[in-house]
């Protein structure tokens, strides 16, 4: 049998998806189903004087209208689930519908439930709301100014929390040969998975059971939080999220509208569906990034980096979303020293409330921001000391023989060969030749530039003890059950919740490799809290390193039991049984054998099992990782800037990533493609803008530029494979590397192209106008 672990197996989820037979939440149709629509605040900050729902309630087809006051005492508020330690966090809970005040454009004011979606939408126009509009503040530094409008009375100065970590002192910087300082703005991004969020709730009053189909990356976390909000026993709440149309972090959070749909179904005794439209997504689904970063890097003239410190002022929006406090702190701060041997590092974070949509994790969550500032600073440092930026990277990279490596932020990096990835990427790019061509073309008035990023990131967060220590209000282990049926076919239950990443295929490959059976004989079940014991979902590139490892452990347990049964069947000692390609054989007697399927049948017939052995063949694992894992790599981008318009043309993009052993190269490459394009999206096109009144002016796809196919050349990808000693598969995660690496790579390439103009910084996204203006000011000052 061909090697299945590492093979480009075609995806098993595809047949239903390419024929329109997927079942996304919005596709769920139930008899007697009602439709909900939510009235959202058009003001960023206002007192609710009166909400008059009489006309809406009387409209044809309308079944019920709920306001914030109707929920009092019947439904809890929406909590946050990350409380960074020693941060004095002000975790003001989010009411599912506003009661006294609205705090961002999009904050829920009322919900209509009607016989169909058209009637529900029409009724929204009939609700009369009297608002007393109050001054709003949308930008974090403005929100920290004395006298700024207050978002929450119990969060003075709009400070949600302050958090610091690290070992760098003032002294390190005052004594440094070179100190480079720069401010960066991580603009606000809107995740925009192509599937808008949706929820369908079905309540069975006779059993007291609520089934909730949700666009969720983590149905068990949703169940845990929603059980509390709705006051339901956890075992009576079933959350289902099988086909989910992308998440990118935006479907981690537990949202008010999701709870409301469950509430309405329980109140009305009929199924209720709610689907956000894209305009609502822009307003009411969490945003990402939005940080102001003041950075100092200290080093020596020979290119050695000695210290880095960052002050991060993070815009959290109007309420603390589920994982929001962890993003600018733990997920950002701990990785600031990146892949370099930097002895001193420090991070200071201020989380700020503003009258904007709450922010939370967005693909990469904290690590793109850290990687961006670090890679930008390395280039600025190289420029300051007159060295090639690649030479500076090479000088500071952690050498391959230094692992496990302890960083200034207290992490222990698992394994790596950073130089190998760098060499490979530079060779693919033809870096040295490019520098010559670049100089030649500059003589002709053409401005090409190259950006190189060497990065390391954190995935597979765990063990759970660490999750607790960093304030995450959950565990970060993962569950897997491998159920072998009497015929040797296998059903796998995983607590992760893939939504595009392809684990129905790669997880089957893991099991197929373990059992020596065809991939087709294995079914992966995910996204249903009634079928899966427990799990923590899919985010932070944890699915394969943690969920896949759980699966590997569970499968090994099956093999051990099967080996004992095989030994009994073949009348040999268990230690003399060899298992390969689906056959148990007796060492030295290849004729004596039993197939995996035969053993499975015997396990269930149980006519003749080893003494004391229970029947059946099933293995479970609740796997808690021993430590984080650290994917790394090098990305290179070559751009041309057209100085007459400021347009940036992407000429080449090279990505060399090391996710540990690659289970399915086709799928891994696809993850890199998508991640890179999203990262470039931040660099060049995407950015949310609020006006002074707190209106989102980039609130549709007409204004907010998502990357399109013709913006890109073919991406060139490759892998190196350095196993991690931190889990049984050695895998590290590939879902976010592209997004983490691509943004600084492209921006550094543009700034390299503009070096002749002395341009040092341009705010993202690097729109043509911003690039053109930077060139103009460079020309003026020259």
């Amino acid at each position: 049998m061909a090697q299945v672990f590492g093979a480009a197996v075609k995806r098993r989820e595809d047949p239903r998806l390419i024929t329109g037979r997927g079942r996304y939440t919005e596709d769920v149709q139930l008899p007697g189903m009602l439709y909900a629509a939510i009235l959202r605040s058009p003001h960023a900050h206002a007192r609710l004087v009166q909400v008059d729902t009489a006309a809406a309630a009387a409209a044809p087809g309308v079944v019920a209208v709920f306001t914030g006051r109707d929920l009092a005492g019947k439904m809890g508020t929406i909590p946050t689930a990350w409380l960074p330690p020693d941060s004095d966090i002000k975790a003001t809970a989010h009411p599912a519908l506003a009661v006294d005040k609205v705090r961002y454009v999009g904050d829920g004011v009322a919900m209509v439930v009607a016989e169909n979606r058209y009637a529900a939408r029409d009724a929204l126009d009939l609700i009369r709301v009297e608002y007393e509009v109050l001054p709003a503040v949308t930008e974090q530094e403005a929100a920290l100014q004395p006298g700024a409008p207050l978002v929450h009375d119990d969060a003075p100065g709009n400070v949600a929390f302050r958090w610091r970590a690290g070992n760098a002192t003032d002294e390190v910087f005052t004594q440094a040969e070179v100190v480079v300082r720069q401010r960066f703005r991580q603009q606000r991004l809107i995740p925009n998975p192509m599937e808008p969020r949706a929820a369908v709730a079905d309540y069975n009053a006779s059993t007291g059971e609520l089934t909730l189909w949700l666009t969720s990356q983590n149905p068990h976390i949703h169940r845990l939080l929603l059980a509390g909000i709705l006051g339901l026993p956890e075992h009576k709440l079933r959350v289902v999220a099988v086909d989910v149309g992308g998440g990118f972090g935006a479907k981690i959070a537990c949202y008010p509208d999701e709870a409301l749909v469950g509430f309405a179904a329980m109140q009305l005794g009929r199924p209720v569906k709610w689907s956000e439209d894209r305009r609502e997504h822009f307003l009411a689904t969490t945003h990402g990034r939005d940080m102001v970063l003041d950075v100092e890097l200290a080093g020596r003239r020979d290119g050695t980096i000695t210290a880095i410190r960052v002050r991060n002022t993070a815009n959290l929006g109007a309420y603390l979303s589920t994982a929001a406090p962890g993003v600018p702190t733990i997920l950002f701060g701990l990785i600031v020293p990146g892949p370099y041997q930097i002895p001193y590092a420090a991070v200071e974070v201020t989380g700020v409330f503003t009258h904007t949509t709450p922010t939370d994790a967005y693909r990469g969550a904290g690590r793109p921001e850290a990687t961006y500032l670090l890679e930008r600073m390395v280039d600025l440092f190289a420029r300051t000391i007159g060295q090639d930026p690649v030479a500076v990277r090479r000088k500071n990279l952690i050498p391959a023989d230094a692992f496990p490596y302890h960083t200034a932020m207290g992490l222990q990096y698992d394994s790596g060969n950073y130089q190998q990835a760098l060499d490979k990427a530079l060779a693919m790019a033809g870096y040295a030749d490019f520098r010559e061509e670049q100089a030649r073309l500059r003589q002709q008035g053409r401005y090409l530039g190259v950006g190189v990023t060497t990065y390391v990131e954190i995935c597979g967060l765990g063990p759970s003890q660490v999750a607790g220590a960093v304030g995450f209000q959950g565990g970060l282990w993962e569950s897997a059950t491998v159920r072998v049926h009497p015929t040797g076919k296998v059903t796998v239950f995983t607590g992760t919740s893939p939504h595009g990443q392809g684990e129905e295929t790669t997880f089957a490959q893991i099991v197929a490799a373990k059992f020596g059976i065809p991939v087709e004989d294995i079914e992966i079940v995910h996204g249903d809290t009634h079928r899966i014991a427990m799990g923590w979902g899919t985010y932070g590139s944890r699915t394969t390193p943690v969920g896949g490892s759980a699966l590997a452990v569970a499968a090994d347990r099956v093999v051990e039991k099967a080996r004992a049964i095989a030994a009994h069947m073949l009348e040999a000692a268990a230690e003399d049984i060899e298992f390969a390609e689906g056959q148990f054989t007796v060492k030295g007697a290849p004729g004596r054998k039993a197939s995996f399927q035969e053993v499975a049948l015997q396990a269930y017939l149980a006519w003749n099992l080893p003494a004391g052995m229970e029947p059946a063949l099933e293995g479970s694992a609740f796997y808690d990782p021993v430590n984080f894992v650290y994917p790394f790599g090098t990305h290179v981008c070559i751009v041309e800037v057209l100085p007459d318009t400021g347009e940036v043309k992407l000429l080449r993009y090279i990505a060399v990533d090391d996710p540990g052993p690659v289970i399915n190269p086709m799928i891994a490459e696809g993850q890199v493609h998508g991640g890179v394009v999203q990262g470039i999206g931040q660099a060049l096109w995407e950015g949310a803008q609020y006006d002074d009144q707190g209106q989102l002016v980039t609130g549709t796809f007409m204004d907010y530029a998502l990357p399109k196919a013709h913006f890109f050349p073919n991406l060139e990808t490759a892998f190196t494979e350095t196993p991690s000693p931190h889990n049984p598969l050695g895998v590290k995660g590939i879902g976010e590397t592209g997004t983490i690496a691509a943004t600084p790579t492209v921006v550094n390439a543009v700034l390299d192209a503009l070096a002749p103009f002395g341009v040092r910084e341009i705010d993202m996204p690097l729109t043509p106008e911003r690039v053109w203006r930077a060139i103009q000011s460079g020309r003026d000052s020259a």
Binding site: M194, R278, L715
Partner: protein
């Protein structure tokens, strides 16, 4: 007929349907909510994302920006109607072979867009494919494998055409 409603008759995936609809009913809602054809998705409000693309009288259109009454008398093909009894459409096969989808939500619309492209231009260059995808948004794949999928389908369809021509020549 209920006041204000309009009767529409159309053929969807080869089957005739007649329904009484509000004039404002969007074609995509007719397909999804009334005919249960949920393969056609809604991804935006402003005709940008293309997730709702279907063929109307053989042309790729965005069914969120077409009223059901406008499709009266028309012939609609959705992703559910693309495969033939012999098997999947070459574009569907291309998406499977070349990993042209991840979460799959945009996929039906992208597939229908690609079918429309290959009708007009059976041998598109890479640049032509990328340009023809102007009206679809995919957040997962970075588009590269979508391009490969369309190229694969184009070559498969060209080969099938050649085989048919050879067979036709032999029977003459």
């Amino acid at each position: 007929m209920e006041a204000g409603k309009v009767r529409v008759s159309l053929e969807v995936n080869g089957k005739a349907y007649t329904a009484e609809v509000e004039p404002r009913l969007l074609l995509v809602h007719l397909l999804r909510d009334q005919l249960g054809l949920t393969g056609t998705h809604i991804g935006c409000d402003t005709s940008q994302c293309g997730a709702c693309t279907v063929l109307l009288d053989g042309q790729a259109v965005k069914s969120c920006t077409v009223l059901a009454v406008q499709a009266d008398g028309g012939r609609v093909t959705t992703v559910e109607g693309l495969a033939s009894p012999e098997g999947l459409h070459p574009v569907q096969i291309g998406f499977w072979e070349k990993h042209g989808l991840q979460c799959g939500f945009c996929t039906p619309g992208v597939i229908m867009t690609a079918v429309g492209l290959l009708q007009d231009n059976p041998r598109p260059t890479e640049e032509e494919i990328r340009t023809a995808l102007e009206g679809v948004l995919c957040r997962c794949t970075g588009y590269q494998n979508i391009v490969r999928a369309v190229q694969y389908a184009a070559s498969q369809m060209a080969e099938a055409d050649e085989r048919r021509e050879v067979a036709a020549a032999e029977t003459e």
